[in-house]
Symmetry: C2
Subunit: 373 residues, 2 copies
């Protein structure tokens, strides 16, 4: 297997965007190519979760490639629900690692805010098990169930809320973030109930945006040290436990095995906090924090920008925003910036970064490890 390098990375500002998705992708893609010093990619992997229903466009790999000005570059689309960006990164990694391509553009994005929230929620909730959906379950409803189980295990309301406080504080330092305002613990604890016990400020927003990286076989400043994917049953009711995600555990095992080092080497992490409890669960599932300790570590400030292990310096899904198929790549963009000293006001002391992405209700998760060369 050949070494694979991230030669360039870029993303758009995340938020309510009025541009077309193709234009957002073009901004991110051309930014990443410029950063990589690559004029034209020899292949493109496109991540978009559901352009058919969000936009009415099909054949989106070709659509995007044509719009980017690379109509002759072979392009394919990869989709694994909310982790599609990470999955596309993996597919691009495979092409370079195999020696099939030498400079792959991976670009992901989503445009949703032009639709009304119930419609977006309905479309995203199609990621969950159809049988559970048939009882009216939605993504936040099942996340609420997971949160209840977590609280029954002793995780406190303040621990859940502190994740949002921290990630909003980080978002303040990120010009690309959807939300650039602080929130207090009380504001989180008193925000509107969405899916008991999850409140509005425990949940990520609906966002538009795009992110891109260029993967090369040629040595660059950042190496893909490890990458792993894990899966679990579509149905939540078929799982042995609700308070940890086997899909993350498997992904982390695989990524660390490939990298040849363990979680203790990780300096900074981007974690899939679509709901704040997911950050706590995932910190433990990845091995970054010992089991049962993530809530305490968060309250103690260990995961702040200047803590022992900064988590979601970008603001995470909670504050940077969650433009679905862009998210897995946006996490990797942030990791690249962190390990190469380009994270501006939110810069951490990092040589090794971990990105963690959740697809659906933790059915298809990814862990990617990046190291400064």
């Amino acid at each position: 297997m050949l070494d694979v390098w991230v030669a360039g990375a870029a993303m758009t500002r995340v938020g309510k965007r009025t541009e077309r998705l193709q234009d957002l992708m073009a901004e991110a893609a051309h930014g990443a190519l410029r950063a990589a010093g690559v004029e034209a990619p020899d292949a493109i992997v496109v991540a978009a979760m559901n352009p058919e229903e969000f936009l009415g466009d099909g054949n989106f790999a070709s659509n995007a490639a044509s719009h980017l000005g690379f109509a002759q570059a072979p392009a394919l689309r990869v989709e694994t629900a909310t982790s599609s960006g990470a999955a596309a990164f993996y597919a691009g990694f495979g092409l370079v690692a195999a020696g099939l391509r030498r400079a792959v553009l991976v670009v992901g994005g989503e445009k949703m805010t032009h639709l009304d929230t119930p419609r977006v929620s309905e479309l995203i909730s199609r990621s969950i098990d159809p049988y559970e959906r048939s009882y009216g379950a939605t993504m936040p409803a099942l996340a609420g169930l997971v949160t209840r189980a977590l609280m029954a295990n002793g995780v406190g309301a303040r621990e859940l809320a502190q994740v949002a406080v921290k990630n909003h504080a980080n978002g303040l330092q990120n010009p690309q973030a959807h939300f650039r305002h602080a929130v207090t613990l009380d504001e989180v604890l008193e925000s509107r109930m969405v899916a008991d016990p999850l409140r509005l400020l425990h949940c990520c927003p609906i966002s538009d945006g795009a992110a891109a990286v260029v993967l090369t076989a040629r040595r660059a400043a950042v190496r893909v040290a490890g990458i792993g994917q894990g899966s679990d049953t579509l149905a939540l009711r078929h799982r042995a436990a609700l308070t940890s995600f086997k899909a993350t555990q498997a992904a982390a095992r695989e990524a660390f095995a490939m990298a040849g080092f363990g979680p203790e080497r990780v300096d900074v992490a981007e974690i899939h906090d679509a709901f704040t409890p997911f950050e706590l669960i995932s910190l433990e599932d990845t091995g970054l924090v010992p089991p049962g300790k993530a809530g305490r570590a968060t309250l103690d400030g260990e995961t702040t920008l200047h803590g022992r292990l900064p988590v979601n310096p970008s603001g995470g899904l909670k504050a940077r925003g969650h433009p679905l198929a862009a998210t897995g790549l946006a996490q990797i963009v942030e990791c690249v910036w962190q390990v190469t000293g380009r994270a501006e006001g939110r810069q951490t002391q990092a040589r090794v970064a971990l990105a963690h992405s959740i697809g659906g209700l933790a059915t298809n998760n990814w862990v990617t490890l990046l190291t400064a060369a």
Copy 2:
């Protein structure tokens, strides 16, 4: 790059199926695994063009993996419109070639016949350029335009019709085919007009079905000798020529370069004949027949089961049917059966087989070369 082998292949009967797509995929997938002697894959690549709108299901890689009984196997979905099956094969090939996985199940399928034809046609036509679509263009309308240009170049109505006659004759020998009845030249020439000059019997049907292969790093009876992808502008109006597809030419160049041999070595071919003119165009674009000679070769019987170069022994998209994301894999299944002597009444003398798949209106095409070990 590691050698990649097709260790097992299977598909469902194609046609109007009442089963769920997940059940069709399970039939194909478990058939391929049995044929491969593989108990469980270490990864799954799923091809489905639009399960969101055909079925209302999202997160389909996880959905299918759970249904297949492999909820813990990492799964991702690949989509390139009507060539999604070939694209998924390529992604699986990359994972094995890179050494990332050792036994990848690639399964593709589509279920559409429960929807009415105008709705299916509308959804498939989203593969074409949105601007051209805004003038009311559909996939068959643009294919009609291509056919007109072809006829202006001297291709005759009998040549176009003979493709259907031949492929229906082949379908008679294929128990998996959607259509198992012969058609005559006159029946084709007198069938209902769909998109002038394309008539009903120039067009493939709307079909349900699934197909699967198992790719391994372990030596098996069939080797993937070459694989190539080519792309072209989404917009037909941006192309220099309408009567050949640059995307196929690029895919063929790449596949033959990898294989280290040329078109003269190919014994049998599965060609994307969604419309009969596409078979003629593609025979020339792949280099299997010299430029301008495909119509004549077809009328002369060169491409029949017992001709110099049997083309679409399965019946092709025209008679085997076109269950979208299954099709690229169904072609490969037929090639595997042909080079391993398991094609029953339609068996040809083949050691080297070529599969050719078109995505959208030839925006994203694939050529795959398989050889008997």
